[in-house]
């Protein structure tokens, strides 16, 4: 069984299904249970959406994904070639506010925070950004 999975693509909002298919295949092959794989698909979809919208301003751009298992965790690295942007600084929605009062947006970052153990982002020396997402999935099945 491969220990790591990689995908390079020119990501835009119409390639998100391909990203989810890749994560589903990699997560399942790395022994994560279906519900954890589903949550990881959601988290990575939201992260790539943020890269496309905030890093590449809605246009397509290169994204490399690397998925591997570290003990009980699946670790996903996402590398882009966009200018630095801080999706971590996005304000999370006030979930107890009535829907009409809530601001639109901010839910993607909230979901990433809720469904991962850690998410860290830093600029790459060669340009672009690296985002590291860590999801606890338990021992390999």
């Amino acid at each position: 069984m491969p220990r790591a999975f990689e995908l390079s693509l020119i990501a835009d909002l119409h390639r998100l299904g391909d990203v989810r298919s890749f994560i589903k295949q990699a997560g399942t092959a790395l022994g994560a249970p279906d519900d954890m794989v589903g949550e990881l698909c959601l988290v990575v979809d939201e992260a790539v959406t943020n890269i496309v919208l905030h890093g590449y301003h809605g246009a397509g751009g290169p994204v490399e994904l690397h998925v591997e298992r570290e003990g009980d965790d699946l670790v996903v690295l996402l590398r882009d070639h966009a200018a630095a942007f801080d999706s971590q600084g996005v304000e999370a929605p006030q979930l107890d506010e009535a829907l009409a009062e809530r601001k639109l947006g901010g839910m993607g970052v909230y979901l990433i925070r809720q469904l991962t153990e850690r998410s860290e982002t830093w600029p790459r020396a060669s340009g672009g950004n690296e985002l590291r997402l860590v999801k606890r999935v338990g021992p390999a099945a």
Binding site: D12, L13, H14, R15, L16, G17, D18, R20, S21, K24, D35, G38, E39, C41, L42, D45, E46, T49, V52, L53, P93, L95, D96, A98, L99, A100, R102, L104, G105, M107, G108, Y110, L111, Q114
Partner: protein
């Protein structure tokens, strides 16, 4: 992982209800089509909308953004001070979609039904 499709139907309960049956995945690439279809139906006169999510395997935050926007389009003055939306309801969210609805607190503001007839009658 499949492209999104929306089927629009009309049912008569106590009031007319537009039923938008969504098939496929709702993500940042497809949510706008849902929002636009709902907007078109509402502009054509629909005052009550039921979103049938029974065939939606995946919905990311963009889908929730669309639902939020549709709830705002349908909001009427008689709802002031009422916590739950009166004119937008959800039918049959499955698995992870249902879990994320709860995680984002949308179940506090939107009625969620698992029976189509009961959902239509509730408007």
């Amino acid at each position: 992982m499949s492209a999104m499709r929306i089927l629009v139907g009309q049912e008569q309960g106590k009031v007319p209800v537009a039923v938008l049956k969504i098939e496929g995945d709702i993500d940042a690439g497809s949510y706008k089509a849902l929002q636009d279809k709902a907007s078109e139906v509402i502009e054509a006169g629909a005052a009550n909308v039921l979103l049938d999510l029974g065939e939606v395997a995946y919905m990311g935050s963009a889908g929730f953004r669309a639902i939020h926007a549709i709830a705002n389009m349908l909001k009427t003055a008689d709802e002031e001070g009422i916590y739950k939306a009166q004119h937008l309801k959800l039918l049959n969210p499955r698995g992870e979609v249902a879990r994320v609805i709860k995680m984002l607190g949308f179940d506090s503001f939107l009625e969620i039904h698992d029976d189509r007839a009961a959902a239509i009658a509730s408007f």
